[in-house]
Amino acid sequence: MRIPCPHCGLRGHEEFAYLGDATLRRPDPAAPDAERAFAEYAYRRDNPAGRHRELWYHAQGCGTWLVVERDTLTHEIGRVTEAREQGGS
């Protein structure tokens, strides 16, 4: 696969480290059901067959965490943005 890093251009996916679902948000640790929410966050996944927003880290490149839209059935890649633009947990 070739991932279009917004900073480095098209690069082989072997330059990146993968971390899965980018739609997860770290729950509020102070919420009363924090333990349950954190367990969901840490362990459960939508794991869709189709469009997937996912985190890739350009480890051998610019060091940016990217949010890549990729189809898990075809591997086709759509939009790629920086994770920091999501504004955090």
Binding site: M1, Y43, R44, D46, N47, A49, T72
Partner: protein
């Protein structure tokens, strides 16, 4: 017809015209006591043991493609019970015991071949881990042996002992480990289950799970609606998709694992060998091909195919370990989609939906589990209680923190 040397000879004389289909091609009935989704090794074994052990014979196995089209037909065929954690060892050992009598049980030669599984180590830290594991196995009554370099050399003199980046320091050997002919497992279980009355229904994809009052009552399929007393999901790789039909979200990601086979060669490699410093393991099939593999590609995928860097990584490991492989040619590569669970261990459990049961999360290690998985899942489906050797494989273990994490990698499926 019973299979034996006599039937083979008799048929040979008769031009092989008398053989009957290995299993029927029945039309689905409107309702079954138990419907298993997924005609892979686990689904078929479950149906077989339901019929054979629990006398539940009004059973259907629904397979969206052809029987054995999933991971049971595309894995590297390794069986072993050399696990570390007490949640795992009894289960995999029970599986190995079932493998040991499988052919006679099924009357199908699945070529269970216990030529040994040798895990090499290259550092002292790795050795400590293997010793911990081997001792754990021995305490469970499982065979395990620690080999020093000379011991490894005796088994596999062709490894690179002298010029390696990560020198071999020894190995953990499970002599009872080995390989089994993958396709024959699916076919053998299908035939045996069929003979006990199980309907094996191919080209039948489950597209919906009908839930009424909190309990599953039947399945929408590409061949119509099928009612069910109980439903067991055994659709490795696709578990998340199928469970989602009942509104469940699983602790699973789907990842692709590639496997490789070389051209046919005269025998060289005695059993299974795994390289502890690279991503590579290998055995040689009875047909002569070197069957090998390595790491998963590492990203969510349902595409059943991998990418080139992983191919290279695996072959680099192979060459580093066995420098005579240079001129052996890779014949074919393929991929399978696996349920990578969040702790690298499987799930055999009830679900929050009534009468819906789950068998999932086998990662890259579920082939060896096939008999025990079928055995335990059948037990769960028939008795509605977990089998003793599969006690650890509960769905709530993640939230509770009772993880079965052999590698200590945490909730990062692509690191298990």
């Amino acid at each position: 017809m019973r299979y034996s040397i006599f039937s083979v000879l008799r048929q040979a004389l008769a031009g092989n015209r008398g053989w009957a289909p290995a299993w029927r091609e029945p039309e689905p009935k409107r309702h079954y006591d138990v419907v298993i989704v997924g005609g892979g090794g686990h689904g078929l074994a479950t149906a077989y043991y339901l019929a054979r052990v629990h006398g539940v014979r009004n059973v259907a196995v629904l397979e969206k493609n052809y029987v054995g089209s999933g991971n049971v037909g595309r894995n590297t065929t390794i069986i072993r019970s050399n696990y570390l954690l007490p949640g795992n060892i009894p289960f995999y050992e029970w599986s190995l015991k079932l493998w040991e009598g499988l052919e006679q049980e099924l009357n199908y030669n699945a070529m269970v071949s216990q030529r040994g599984v040798l895990n090499l180590f290259h550092t002292e830290a790795q050795r400590d881990l293997f010793v911990r594991r081997g001792n754990s196995m021995r305490m469970h009554g499982v065979d395990a042996e620690l080999l020093d370099v000379a011991g490894v050399r005796r088994i596999a003199p062709f490894l690179d002992f002298d010029n390696a980046r990560f020198p071999i320091r020894g190995g953990l050997l499970q002599a009872r480990g080995g390989t089994v002919r993958h396709d024959a497992v699916a076919w053998g279980y299908a035939r045996a289950a069929d003979r006990l009355g199980v309907d094996v229904i191919q080209q039948c994809e489950v597209t919906g799970i009908r839930v009424e009052a909190g309990a599953a009552v039947g399945l929408e399929t590409t061949r119509g609606y099928i009612g069910a007393g109980r439903i067991g999901l055994a659709c490795a790789g696709n578990s998340s998709r199928v469970a989602a039909l009942a509104g469940l979200r699983l602790p699973i990601e789907s990842h692709v694992l590639q496997a490789f086979v070389s051209e046919g060669l005269k025998p060289v490699i005695p059993g299974v060998i795994t390289f502890g410093a690279g991503h590579f393991y290998v055995s040689q099939s009875d047909k002569g091909g070197l069957v090998f593999g390595g790491d998963i590609d590492g990203y969510n995928s349902y595409a059943q195919r991998g990418n080139l860097p992983t191919v290279e990584d695996v072959c680099e490991g192979g060459m580093a370990l066995m420098p005579f492989l240079g001129r052996v040619r890779l014949l074919r590569s393929w991929g399978g989609i696996m349920d990578m669970s969040m702790d690298g261990s499987p799930i055999i459990d009830r679900t929050p939906v009534g009468r819906l049961y789950l068998n999932a999360g086998w990662c890259y290690g579920g082939f060896k589990a096939t008999p025990a998985s079928g055995w335990c899942f059948a037990h769960l489906l028939a008795r509605d209680e977990p089998h003793a050797v599969a006690r650890a494989y509960r769905l709530d273990r993640f939230a509770e923190g009772r993880l079965v994490d052999e590698k200590g990698q945490g909730p990062f499926p692509n690191r298990h």
